[in-house]
Symmetry: C6
Subunit: 271 residues, 6 copies
Amino acid sequence: MQDVELISPQLAILDEEPYYHAVGDEVPLFESAWRNRLPVLLKGPTGCGKTRFVEYMAWKLKRPLVTVACHDDLTAADLVGRYLIVGGQTVWMDGPLAAAVRAGAICYLDEVVEARKDTMVVIHPLADSRRVLPIEKRGELVHAPAGFMLVISYNPGYQSVLKELKQSTRQRFVAFEFDYPDAELEAAIVSRETGIGADVAAKLVKFAAMTRNLKGSGLDEGASTRLLVHAGKLIVDGVPPVAACRAAIAQAVTDEPEMLAAVHEMSSSIF
Amino acid sequence: MQDVELISPQLAILDEEPYYHAVGDEVPLFESAWRNRLPVLLKGPTGCGKTRFVEYMAWKLKRPLVTVACHDDLTAADLVGRYLIVGGQTVWMDGPLAAAVRAGAICYLDEVVEARKDTMVVIHPLADSRRVLPIEKRGELVHAPAGFMLVISYNPGYQSVLKELKQSTRQRFVAFEFDYPDAELEAAIVSRETGIGADVAAKLVKFAAMTRNLKGSGLDEGASTRLLVHAGKLIVDGVPPVAACRAAIAQAVTDEPEMLAAVHEMSSSIF
Amino acid sequence: MQDVELISPQLAILDEEPYYHAVGDEVPLFESAWRNRLPVLLKGPTGCGKTRFVEYMAWKLKRPLVTVACHDDLTAADLVGRYLIVGGQTVWMDGPLAAAVRAGAICYLDEVVEARKDTMVVIHPLADSRRVLPIEKRGELVHAPAGFMLVISYNPGYQSVLKELKQSTRQRFVAFEFDYPDAELEAAIVSRETGIGADVAAKLVKFAAMTRNLKGSGLDEGASTRLLVHAGKLIVDGVPPVAACRAAIAQAVTDEPEMLAAVHEMSSSIF
Amino acid sequence: MQDVELISPQLAILDEEPYYHAVGDEVPLFESAWRNRLPVLLKGPTGCGKTRFVEYMAWKLKRPLVTVACHDDLTAADLVGRYLIVGGQTVWMDGPLAAAVRAGAICYLDEVVEARKDTMVVIHPLADSRRVLPIEKRGELVHAPAGFMLVISYNPGYQSVLKELKQSTRQRFVAFEFDYPDAELEAAIVSRETGIGADVAAKLVKFAAMTRNLKGSGLDEGASTRLLVHAGKLIVDGVPPVAACRAAIAQAVTDEPEMLAAVHEMSSSIF
Amino acid sequence: MQDVELISPQLAILDEEPYYHAVGDEVPLFESAWRNRLPVLLKGPTGCGKTRFVEYMAWKLKRPLVTVACHDDLTAADLVGRYLIVGGQTVWMDGPLAAAVRAGAICYLDEVVEARKDTMVVIHPLADSRRVLPIEKRGELVHAPAGFMLVISYNPGYQSVLKELKQSTRQRFVAFEFDYPDAELEAAIVSRETGIGADVAAKLVKFAAMTRNLKGSGLDEGASTRLLVHAGKLIVDGVPPVAACRAAIAQAVTDEPEMLAAVHEMSSSIF
Amino acid sequence: MQDVELISPQLAILDEEPYYHAVGDEVPLFESAWRNRLPVLLKGPTGCGKTRFVEYMAWKLKRPLVTVACHDDLTAADLVGRYLIVGGQTVWMDGPLAAAVRAGAICYLDEVVEARKDTMVVIHPLADSRRVLPIEKRGELVHAPAGFMLVISYNPGYQSVLKELKQSTRQRFVAFEFDYPDAELEAAIVSRETGIGADVAAKLVKFAAMTRNLKGSGLDEGASTRLLVHAGKLIVDGVPPVAACRAAIAQAVTDEPEMLAAVHEMSSSIF
């Protein structure tokens, strides 16, 4: 058999420290999991900083980072790789997971429960003591180097029966729960990311807390830190605070007319 | 590996100002979102001018515009691109989203909730601070230039449980709500687009308002501004107003015999 | 990139006037819609003459006609076109919709609600003021010439919740409702198409009216004009009228034994 | 574009008269439909002779016969044809329907409701006055010659809501209902096809009638004429009649233990 | 058109007599069906010897045997054959059914109700007096030689509504019902296949009978003859009888803790 | 036909003894099954050592081991093999099952009920006295050498109606049930795998037992031995025991806030 060329991209290490402010013991725990070659599972609501945390840890551990946003149609082949015909030749192109394993990178599967079940199973041999990735189509068994780490995340608030992590999957991971930062820290983050004054940032955080209290009583989810940053940017750019809160926060969290009115009123009472 | 040729179309900027009449603060808000590199979500009923508004903003910001009408079978590959075999060579053809990112264009995904879930996820990294489009099949990470902007739209009135925007998607966008213009403005628009007299235009707008009041009590949706333009064109062309209203408006909004009769009667009472 | 050959068939104009007898103002309304470049939606039961009407209008307006019978598996690609490998070369073959747009033809999508949702969406940009067909796989935007017209049809009596036209689709069309011609006209049509005597034709029309009264009380649909033509042809060929009515009409509209007996009895009472 | 070779098989006319015994006026009705170029729909239970009737008519009208057994996965492409790569060249291979149209054959689609919906629609233009088969992939419109005839069949007893013929399909056909032949004729048929004596044949027919009376009260369907032929053959070959009836008839119509016992008892009481 | 090479394997006749002990008149009935060119349907529970019986008959009739285990994803193409590209040439590779027809073999479709509906239909023309296999993709009609025989099987106990044999399929077959052999014969079979003593074999058969009595009251199915053979082999190899019964029989028939305990107790009471 | 090259990987035997501590008679039973060429089915909860046991037996029997993690999209072709185009040539690449059969390896299908139904059926001829693997696409019948053994596993606690093993599958296997080791043995295993002291290991096992008692009353599954090993590793690395138990055990087994609190409290009461 003629050799099939293998295409596997060179992955680079982030060269700038991402801004991340720890909210608990997540940094040393992550480092310990990495030293013990254990995979990590991050739980938490949207926009609370999971992705940023993984970027920060990749930078701190000097590992390249490969991020995959999971979805309904993501197959095992999308992660592992596939054969392509290029110029009449068959070449093998590593998928992001295979590339991450070869490079000893951190591979971050975001919103992993959205992926099809076969994706879950393909990570099993990587997520136990074997630490191997079988590439069945190549008849190859890739052993993960020491630096490789698998990180997955999901939002427990959205898990449906159809899309839950099986015990045989989750019992392979060390798991951390994330939540929004406390008020003071969140105001500092919003201020730093937008250049807005401390007082306005505090008001935005207060507004966010009000929406988070509505979770489960009309809202699926409260305003995330990310939405506060959006509102802050619009305000710095000259948009009146109430209009900025309406567009960046209220309209972003709900379509329901009465709930929209209630959330508008909250922002008006603050600004 | 032999080089794979990359096919990415050159996108042009609209050279004529599209006719658009603002109904609120949507123009400065959109500009602020663009300056802050935030993606935008437009909500509103069919035919109220969302598409025209995006065309207008693209012209105003001097950005090329790429519009994609989303549907059930639209996959991530349709947006991002795919390999083709041309003359025995494999070439990569950018999809409309990848082409828009490379060109720093405005990419407008119309009725985005109709698309498959993987489409939603493929826009995530473009719709947060990373502003990147991963093209996994090429192992390429395209960084969006400053001019690029992502705009999506949907009609909240039609969202079903199966087709709603997840919080992890919607909490990435600055959101605006659109509605029909007020009566005076709408009559001016109909008049300008059809050449019909102000009095007939006013009557058409009055008729439309009557149908919009029936929304939820027999009609799924009232007559849009677009339908008034259709009726106006037929009238200018010599079709009797009542016949024009029946064909362009009543028959276009419902099939239900009793509702058709009621709507016919309304137009007869006006003309 | 090597040039991909484009295969787009030459479409011809009907050279013989199709037999069509107007039942209302549908001819001038259609002409006005065509002059105003508005798309048209035809509603009505099976076999009442919608297809013949479109053929007639195409002949009258001197436009080529492209007819597509829609079905569950009709995809956007079937309408727009696809790449084929021919003799080792990749060629692009226009689908019927793309061919119609390029030729300035009338494109008639029959029973459009049967098609998959993506078909609906692909016609959106053709069915508003843009009048363009984006061929995403070619990165091409085809502008419809003045002569092009889009016509769609469906039978409102059969629409299910799963297969209804979305408001965002239907509010792009000028709509006409069709029904069976009145008794005198229908008898004339049957007579002309079969050569049968006026008296027998009148009896067939009377029989049809009886079956149409059963619609909703045992029959899904009454006998169409087409079935009367079938029966007429068999009678002219020597088949006894009652046997012709049984085979061409009764057995064609129902399988239900009691309903069959009732319908048989009706024809026996007439002939 | 290089010429694509067209592969369309030469169809032969049956050279031996199939054995068929008419049970009503189905032969002259079929001939009249054929002379008038009308398509035919045959209804009736399994094994009552529909297929044999079509073979007989094809022989009588001196037309080649193409039979297609329809099923869940039969697509329009399976009927119409597809491109194949042969020796590096693309050739078009006509499907059985296209081949039948070109040859002016009788095309018999057996159990047509089993086919996918797109199959139904592909026959529409062949089953009205147009008598054309559009081959969209070739951009070809094949006009049916005078000899061509479309025949479809199904068993109304098995139609489910999901698998019924739409009115827009069935109202294109002249329809005949088939049933088992009367006792005397059926005994003659069994005798002729197996060489069994008239008395045993009569007993088998009597037994069949008993099972047919159980239809709807424990049996989905009674024993068909075909099963009597099977039993007859086994008996002629030396199998005891009761054993032959059990294997060829009782076990063939049901699995239900009590019903099996009842049917066994019937045959024991006769032989 | 260039010739497409046809790949059809040479099938061999079994050269050793398989061990089979008849339980009724199934051998002469099968021979009579074969002489009369009638297809056969075998019904019965798992592991009762249907496969072995077919092997035995193939050997007795000196016919090659082709066995296909049917499943959910078995398509008509899997049975009939498909085109492959080999060394740049298109070759046709017969599927097992086509190969069996050409070779005049016995083709045994095991658990036929598991297959997709199209598989059922593809065998229809082979299972009536036509005895032909249409290979639509080749435009070929293969006539079955005299020696060819179609045999299908299923387990009526497991048939669900979704997976039942249609009357139009089953009324083409001569049908036999299989059951476990009687106690004495079954003990002889177990003894012969494992070398175990007659007394232990008798105990195993007694144990099996107890589990078969539980069918429908806690067990889906009792222990098959095959499981007794498994237990016998382990015992001969030195495993204690109770342990052998637990692993080879009890754990093989159920997972339910209470039922497992009950079945364990049965075996303990015997050994 | 040109020869198609066959690619079948050389499989190696494990050269290091995997650590495994027997909990019952599973080792001699497995050896007896192997000597008698009977396939084996392992049942048990996640993380209790099934995979390690198979590795150990493969080492002990000096057989190569091929492990396949089954999933929803695993097809028969993934197991058996497929044709690839390499350098313009068609080559056949054995799947893991075919490779294992040729090499006389142990083939372990982990979580077999997750695979598609066709996978189940493809192993049937390997799992009875025939011991053959039909490779239909090659027209090849591979006979398993004496050393080959098929092992499958699943967790009965998770079987749903949709994903249960059919009797016709399970009645081909000798079956063992696995459970967690007893307390003393489990502490020894944790200690050996992590280097943690015996007292901490005993506390972890005590904690695990408490969570296992919650199975069915709030937890889907208790903590597996694997999770104890995770916690032990973090503790040895300096993470405080309560934090290690929270991340490695509590967060890994549940997302439910009250259950998390209860489990946290358990670990606090122990450490």
